[in-house]
């Protein structure tokens, strides 16, 4: 029997109130305390939505993050922010981190946040999402004088220090590696994922999953990823990649649990249940790993669509997951 669970992959968009909060904070009209307390109210609402809809784990929405790399760059020494660059094939731009030396964490941005969230929301399973070290290095400018693999390893060490503050059985960790869909980016760290993750994962006593989105994971990258020890879960983009079943047939999942992004997170149309079910069925046919759990999620973060649609898509994800669960049973 396959247990089907679901959760939102990552961040939510900012609603009008949050946009104004961020603006007021950045322009000095709100203190740090006022800002984070007000923001917490919005995160609690989103957490409530996810919990009520039966999501396996809860994300806080990452509402204060300007992009996935920013909070880490802001809390590390050795790196500064540069100009804007397109974030994969989206009409969204991130600020390029420029590394001059190995990053050195000044404070732990994630543990502070999650301790606050737990205080407010209480007992639940939380998901902390971080940028993968391969993606982080590939999206950055390297002015360290060392190669990109060295930089990725150093980023992994810095992220590890962040993650160690998060251990506990009420938190799972998701590592996002969209760069593994882009050959040019992947080539910067090709054949070194095991080494890089060897610096990221030690000492973590919680479930760790990796997520690849914005298209098909490159075959070589997927094969490499499956060799990384310590990853419990691999999540792939089932909306923008039509060959997941082929990939799984070829490489399997090596006893990891499988996550599948089945709800289009970059567009607002109503996802067609039949299509979602067909793509799940196709993957299940080829899946030879542990069939105890299939995790359904959104194709990427929900922050590229308007807020109302993001909340609605959460509902669609939950509803479709329940239907699939019943039908698979």
């Amino acid at each position: 029997m396959v247990d089907v669970s679901c959760s939102v992959l990552g961040g939510y968009p900012r609603n009008r109130r949050v946009r104004h909060l961020v603006r007021d904070y950045e322009e000095g009209r709100l203190s740090s305390n006022e800002f984070y307390n007000a923001l917490m109210g919005e995160s609690i609402f989103l957490a409530g939505v996810q919990r009520a809809l039966g999501c396996e784990c809860i994300v806080d929405g990452m509402l204060e993050w300007h992009d996935i790399l920013r909070p880490f760059v802001n809390s590390w020494r050795g790196v500064y922010l540069s100009g804007l660059l397109r974030y994969f094939d989206n009409n969204f731009f991130y600020r390029i981190p420029v590394f001059r030396e190995a990053p050195e964490p000044m404070n732990h941005t994630l543990s502070t946040k999650f301790n606050m969230i737990k205080d407010y929301i209480g007992s639940s399973l939380y998901k902390a999402v971080i940028p993968g070290p391969a993606t982080f290095a590939a999206l950055s400018k390297n002015e360290t004088g060392k190669d990109d693999v060295w930089l990725a390893v150093k980023i992994a060490e810095a992220l590890n220090s962040e993650l160690r503050g998060l251990s506990g059985n009420d938190i799972i960790i998701q590592i996002d590696e969209p760069a593994l869909t882009d050959k040019e980016l992947y080539d910067r760290i090709r054949s070194h994922l095991e080494e890089i993750y060897g610096s990221l994962l030690p000492g973590l006593d919680t479930s760790v999953r990796v997520s690849v989105y914005f298209g098909c994971v490159l075959e070589d990258a997927y094969a490499e990823l499956l060799d990384v020890k310590g990853l419990d879960f691999v999540t792939l983009d089932g909306v923008d990649c039509k060959k997941i079943s082929t990939l799984i047939k070829e490489y399997g999942v090596k006893n990891r649990k499988l996550g599948l992004g089945v709800i289009e997170a970059r567009d607002i149309y109503e996802d067609d249940y039949t299509k979602v079910k067909t793509s799940v069925s196709k993957v299940l046919e080829e899946y030879e790993g542990d069939l105890s759990l299939l995790h359904l999620t959104t194709s990427t973060w929900l922050d590229l669509i308007p807020y109302e649609y993001a909340v609605r898509k959460t509902g669609v994800l939950s509803y479709y997951s329940n239907r699939i669960k019943e039908e698979v049973d």
Partner: protein, 330 residues
């Protein structure tokens, strides 16, 4: 009539910092406090401020500064049948745009931007003003589509209405028509270029004006060889922000059209000095790829995100650098 310099003419890509009354007018029109006709009448003083800045800087080929446009997609979407207004979607940091939604067949209703161009032309002291329109691929990519369900179909439908607008511009005497396709760099793939090429034939075939396409901020080198098949006279690319990264690729692929050469970083408030801009022009000339009559000197992209005084200072230095290039490199 003003005579545009034969060598290294200077121009701009399109947008200019919003003059405060224009921002207020856009809000009032959206709330339907004022109608469309009054809006275009009332926005004229803002356009005049922009034109005066251009003239003061000495730019040769101008624009209306897109003072009437909230952004490059929503403005046209609001004036076409088949669209409905959208909600806020983030572009970067805490900056957003309203991403419109295609809910029906796209149809042309009436001229959308010609009136602002005509006014700008009437006060430009004879200097030509570019007609600038958002391209169909960018319109499609930066909209949600709940009707066509196929990007190519939507792009072609949009190309047909843009063709109508281009005809209106040319009828009124526009000699320079620029189609902005920044979204093309989002997916630098041959099949995407093919769709845009098809759309550009719809827009430009039989049109008698200088035909320009502006693309920026992306891995344009991946598609450069296919872009050269576009039925246009001039490409306008961003160079400065990416440290002229595209330059060797132009040489590699035998770039053979006129080039709008972006020498001003519109994402930086640092004002490039004259010598620095001149040096960048010289680097292009030294490739031997293009003669000075094929090089149009301009900023990387629209200037709308810069403070106005910075935009003016950048343009002034750009014009001086082009003059220097005419002295030294011709």
């Amino acid at each position: 009539m003003y005579k545009v310099p034969r060598y290294f003419p200077t121009t701009i890509v399109g947008s200019y910092p919003k003059i405060p009354p224009a921002e207020d007018l856009i809000r009032r029109r959206k709330r339907e406090v004022i109608g469309e006709e009054d809006f275009h009448e009332l926005v004229k003083p803002s356009i005049k401020v922009v034109i005066d800045d251009y003239l003061q800087a000495g730019v040769d080929i101008l624009s209306d500064g897109e003072q009437a446009r909230e952004d490059m997609v929503a403005y046209f979407a609001e004036r076409l049948e088949g669209y409905r207004g959208g909600e806020w979607v983030r572009i970067f940091d805490n900056v957003y745009f309203r991403k419109p939604v295609v809910v029906g067949e796209i149809k042309y209703l009436k001229p959308m931007a010609v009136m602002d161009w005509a006014y700008a032309s009437s006060i430009s002291n004879g200097r030509p003003v570019k007609a600038i329109l958002t391209g169909p691929y960018t319109m499609a990519d930066w909209s949600f589509d709940l009707y066509y369900g196929d990007r190519r179909e939507l792009v072609i439908a949009l190309a047909k209405v843009i063709r109508r607008e281009v005809e209106e511009f040319v009828k009124k005497g526009a000699n320079y028509v620029q189609i902005d396709e920044p979204a093309l760099s989002t997916r630098p793939l041959k099949e995407e270029v093919d769709v845009v090429n098809e759309a550009l034939h719809i827009i430009f075939d039989g049109i008698h004006a200088k035909k320009i396409v502006h693309i920026c901020f992306g891995k344009i080198e991946r598609i450069l060889e296919y872009l050269l098949d576009f039925p246009i006279d001039q490409f306008d690319f961003e160079f400065k922000n990416s440290n002229l990264r595209l330059l060797p690729y132009l040489v590699e692929y035998g770039f053979n059209k006129e080039l709008g050469y972006g020498v001003i970083d519109v994402h930086s408030t640092r004002v490039e000095d004259v010598q620095e801009i001149y040096n960048d022009i010289e680097k292009l000339v030294k490739t031997g790829l293009l003669g000075p009559d094929k090089i149009y000197v301009d900023p990387d992209c629209g200037l709308k995100r810069l403070p106005r005084e910075i935009a003016v200072a950048k343009l002034q230095n750009m014009v001086k650098a082009a003059e220097l290039a005419r002295e030294k490199l011709v």
